[in-house]
C-alpha cells in the first residue's frame, strides 16, 4: 500500500478520553488499556478516516512537534500498525466511515 494512501479511523469498540494531554484508550472487546503520549494522541485525534496519514503527520505532527518529516512518518506508521493490531485503529487504503458506534 503506498504510504500516501493510508487512511486511519478509530474503532467503534473503544473508549477514549484525554487526561492532561495524554489519551486514555480502552478496547471494550478485551479491556486492553493504553495511554498515548502527546504525539500519539495528536495522530489518534486526527484519525477521522478521511485524512491521509501523511497529511496528519505533516499538519499535526511536524508542525506542532518540530520533528524530521521522514522520521515522523516512519514512527507514525509503526504506531498505527501497533494500535491496529490491538483493534484500536482501523487502517485502509480507502477513506473510512466516521468512527461513531452504530
Amino acid at each position: 500500500m503506498p504510504e500516501n494512501c493510508i487512511y486511519i479511523a478509530r474503532s467503534t469498540a473503544i473508549a477514549a478520553r484525554a487526561l492532561a494531554g495524554e489519551m486514555m484508550v480502552m478496547n471494550s472487546a478485551d479491556s486492553t488499556f493504553f495511554t498515548l503520549n502527546e504525539v500519539a494522541t495528536a495522530i489518534f485525534q486526527a484519525a477521522d478516516g478521511r485524512t491521509p496519514l501523511r497529511e496528519i503527520v505533516r499538519d499535526k505532527i511536524c508542525e506542532q512537534f518540530d520533528v524530521d518529516p521522514e522520521q515522523a512518518q516512519k514512527d507514525a506508521e509503526q504506531f498505527v500498525a501497533e494500535l491496529s493490531s490491538y483493534g484500536i485503529l482501523l487502517v485502509s487504503d480507502q477513506p473510512l466511515p466516521a468512527e461513531t458506534p452504530r
Partner: protein, 368 residues
C-alpha cells in the same frame, strides 16, 4: 502499580472527575426487600437534559461512566442515551437486573461497545432470589439474560448482595457465576431507605457472621494478608484521603443532583441549574469533602486501623459527621482483624455497635 491505577492516581491528583455514576431513573420493575430507593418518578431528567450532561461530562474529562438505577431499561430512551454516551467515547458500564434483556437487547449492547454489565443475583435458588426481588420468575429471566449477553461475548459481573435471607447462598451464586462464565462480586452492605426508614437494616447479616466471609479465600484472596492486624500508620497514611469521592468520582441522581458518591448524600449542586464542571470545581461542599485528610478525622486519626480501614466518608456523613467514624466500617475492621477500633474503645465497647444512619439521598430539585 498497574497502568489503570496510575491513571486513577493522576486523575485524583489533578482533581479530574474521571468516573461518574449516573442513575437515570429510580423506577424499577423489581421490589427488592433491601432496596433503599423511592421508586416514584419525582421529575427525572429528560433525554435532552441527560445528553447535555453527557456533553459536559465528556468535556470535564469523565472517562468511566456507570449507568444505573432503578432499572435503566425502564427508560424508553435508554438505548438512545447509551448510543449518545458511546458516541462521546465514554467507557460504559451498566448496572441492571437484566430481566428486560433479550437476544435483541444483548446484540444492541454488544454493538454499542459497552464494557461491562453488572447484574444483581441474590441466590442460586430461584425461590430465594424471587422472594427477595418480589418479581415472580425474575431468577429465570435474569439468568436467561446473562446467557444472551455471554453469547454476544460481553463481560458480565454478578453482584451478590448479602443479607439475612441469602447469607448461606454466596457459594452457590459463585458456582452459578462460574458455570455462566461471568465474574462474581459480593457486597454485604445494606443501607437505609431514602425516606429514612431504617427497617431494612434488620436484613443486614450480623457482624458475628462477617468473619466467615472475611476468612473465605474465594472472596478475599489472601486471607492471611486480608485479616492481618493493622500496621502503625505512617506520616504518608495520615496525609492521605479516604477514597475517590469528590476527588475523581461523583454521583448524579435521576433529578440532576450531584453528590460526592452514590453513598454520600451531601448535596453539592444540580445540573439543571449549574454547569457540571462549575459544581465539580466550585461547590463549597465538594471542596470541603476533598480537603479532609486522615489526620483531620476526629476519632479515626488515632485509630490503629486508619491506614487499612475501608472507612466510607459517606456512611460517616450519614452518621452525623463526614470527619467522624463510620460504624459499619469499624465493624468490618474489627471482625476482619479481631483488633478493636478507636471508636469502640472510646465507647468502652467489646464489640462494635452499628449506629443507625440518619441522612439519606433525597431529591433536592423537584421541577414544578
Amino acid at each position: 502499580m498497574s497502568l489503570m491505577s496510575e491513571v486513577g492516581q493522576k486523575a485524583f491528583n489533578l482533581g479530574v472527575p474521571i468516573a461518574v455514576h449516573m442513575d437515570v431513573t429510580y423506577r424499577c420493575n423489581e421490589r427488592c426487600v433491601h432496596c433503599y430507593l423511592d421508586h416514584d418518578d419525582h421529575g427525572e431528567l429528560t433525554t435532552d437534559e441527560i445528553k447535555g450532561a453527557l456533553d459536559q461530562m465528556a468535556e470535564a474529562g469523565v472517562f468511566f461512566l456507570t449507568f444505573s438505577g432503578g432499572e435503566v431499561f425502564l427508560r424508553r430512551d435508554f438505548f438512545e442515551l447509551l448510543e449518545y454516551a458511546r458516541r462521546l467515547m465514554f467507557n460504559v458500564k451498566i448496572k441492571t437486573n437484566a430481566v428486560m434483556i433479550h437476544e435483541e437487547e444483548a446484540r444492541r449492547i454488544r454493538e454499542l461497545g459497552v464494557d461491562t454489565i453488572q447484574i444483581s443475583v441474590y441466590s442460586h435458588r430461584p425461590e430465594v432470589h424471587d422472594a427477595i426481588t418480589k418479581l415472580p420468575h425474575s431468577f429465570e429471566r435474569t439468568v436467561k439474560a446473562i446467557r444472551f449477553l455471554r453469547e454476544q461475548g460481553l463481560r458480565v459481573t454478578i453482584a451478590n448482595v448479602l443479607m439475612t435471607a441469602n447469607s448461606s447462598d454466596h457459594l452457590g451464586v459463585q458456582e452459578l457465576a462460574a458455570e455462566l462464565g461471568v465474574h462474581y462480586t459480593l457486597d454485604p452492605t445494606i443501607t437505609p431507605m431514602m425516606d429514612g426508614d431504617t427497617s431494612v437494616l434488620a436484613l443486614r447479616i450480623p457482624g458475628e457472621e462477617l468473619p466467615e466471609v472475611f476468612q473465605n479465600p474465594a472472596l478475599v484472596g489472601n486471607q492471611e494478608e486480608f485479616c492481618a492486624p493493622p500496621k502503625a500508620p505512617s506520616d504518608e497514611d495520615l496525609e492521605g484521603y479516604s477514597c475517590s469521592a469528590g476527588h475523581s468520582f461523583c454521583y448524579i441522581s435521576p433529578y440532576g443532583d450531584v453528590f460526592p458518591c452514590v453513598q454520600f448524600p451531601l448535596p453539592t449542586g444540580n445540573i439543571r441549574q449549574q454547569k457540571f464542571l462549575d459544581i465539580w470545581n466550585f461547590s463549597p461542599q465538594m471542596n470541603e469533602v476533598r480537603s479532609i485528610q486522615a489526620k483531620d478525622l476526629t476519632v479515626c486519626s488515632s485509630c490503629s486501623h486508619v491506614s487499612s480501614c475501608t472507612r466510607c466518608p459517606g456512611l460517616a456523613y450519614m452518621e452525623g459527621s463526614m470527619r467522624g467514624p463510620s460504624s459499619a466500617d469499624c465493624e468490618k475492621s474489627f471482625y476482619r482483624t479481631g483488633v478493636p477500633t478507636a471508636n469502640m474503645l472510646r465507647q468502652g465497647l467489646s464489640k462494635p455497635r452499628t449506629t443507625v444512619p440518619l441522612i439519606q439521598i433525597r431529591p433536592i430539585a423537584v421541577p414544578a
